[in-house]
Amino acid sequence: MVTAENALSIKEWNRSASELDAYKLRDDFPILKRWVHGKPLVYLDNAASSQKPQAVIDAIEKVYTDSYSNIHRGVHALSQECTSAYEEAREKVQNFLNAAHSKEIIFVRNATEAINLVVSSYGRTNLSRGDEIVISAMEHHANIVPWQILCQQTGAVLRVAPMTDEGELQLDEYKKLLNDKTRFVSIVHISNALGTINPIRDIIAAAHDRGVPVLIDGAQSAPHTSIDVQELDCDFFVFSGHKLYGPSGIGVLYGKTEFLDSMPPYQGGGDMISYVSFEKTLYNDLPYKFEAGTPHIAGAIGLGAAIDYLTSIGLDSIAAYEQELLEYATRALAEIPEVRIIGAAKEKAAVISFLIGDIHPHDVGTILDQQGVAIRTGHHCAQPIMDRFGIPATARASLAFYNTREEIDALIAGIKKVIEVFG
């Protein structure tokens, strides 16, 4: 039984185990005070999108109440203020990823658009019939479908590095796929469906040994672990703002200057040019060459605020706390005989895909929702992973630093309710 006393001791335990105080940080997120179906919201769908701290909400409000205007275009005060706030956000992203230059940071809509940009601009220019692209068996559809389209357009071939039953990439098989025809490697850092953390240092090094450029899909890693693109030496890195406690509609493509400079524009329009006549157009310099049209100005500034917020907590503390919570949840789930966890990589982030007996995940999701517990059910935009494990879908709890042990306990109680309903 949870009494006020032992609830407190759990809190103390939590505090002592990691420097991060989830209970205090929760106060920064207004939405976490919400109730759903008469129960306190337990939000465990962070891999789909995460909630926003007040600092981000305030930053967006401030743009629109204080200094909103279009950027890069006006000589008036508002335009200057807004332009510098937007460019400051770019520098925040640069520091966050430890990129060498701020011009290597391109603002896009999301990770999906960032991948599409690279596929269209780099891919269509540099790949032709018979060339090979290597991805992994655990990619999100965002890192599969754009390459398939490119293959249809160019005659290039998509090769897929396999994974084990535990959901770990088979590094040796990946290395065997690299050959003289390999022109590009595009791999997910952390799998959104399995939680697997891929050994991207080795993946990048092996590709570079053959002079092959590498894109890392950091949609799930940037919010949960610190990233240093120079140390990783990846050529491209992509992530979405909305999974990083920032606004939706803003995302980032990082690319090394040498690549971005040589790539043609992705879209044409305003802001991406330096001179236009009907005979000839000169493209603007980086990063503007890739930012055609009016961008999501408040989104970029909100993302900057999210980065400030995360950095103030510290990505290392976040990662350590989430690991503890993952272990706690995994242990608790393992005690329920009907529960089967999909994905048992040794290096794993706080994403837990599971099945309960032969109960369909959709039914699990509905019953948990009635208990106030928000999880994701379905194929998580990674249908090939479901096929690999011979299942149609999973239920997935994905954790953030604002989640607590009590919330894991609520998940467990909800799962027991599911088992009760289905007898």
């Binding site: 109960i359 369909h360 995940p361 959709h362 039914d363 509905t366 019953i367 009635q370 059910t377 379905g378 194929h379 249908q383 479901m386 149609p392 879908a393 309903v421 289905f422 007898g423």
Partner: protein
Amino acid sequence: MSELDELYQEIILDHNKNPRNFHKMEDANHMADGYNPLCGDKVTVYLHLDGDVVSDISFDGKGCAISTASASLMTETIKGKTLDEVKTMFESFHDLVTGRKDPMKCEVCVGKLKVLAGVRQFPMRVKCATLCWHTLKAAIESNEDEFVTTE
């Protein structure tokens, strides 16, 4: 009854566990696949039409309790019915699960399908209940002349 109990009634849980007419039909003359891209569910509906009468119907595939029970109940309900009757039933059933019609007023036309009325409280699950019906419609419209069995 709580919303949850209304959704997962005994009859539904029973049809989920032991779906009726759950098999491939060797001599089907109409067939269609239905997918729910949201959850990856798949259902195949097999029909044997004699003129405009559904002389036999079956289904197979993989889905949640709501979609499995709905398909099972659908096959039980429409066997022996004419295509016109099927059409009216689909319309009434659709009104029922989307909450456009009071379940008590639907009794005549949808019969035992009204156990699925609980779905109307769960907008995200309406598609689960209607997938088999949309697939049935596609099966009816599938061209008999072009139809080839996989055998």
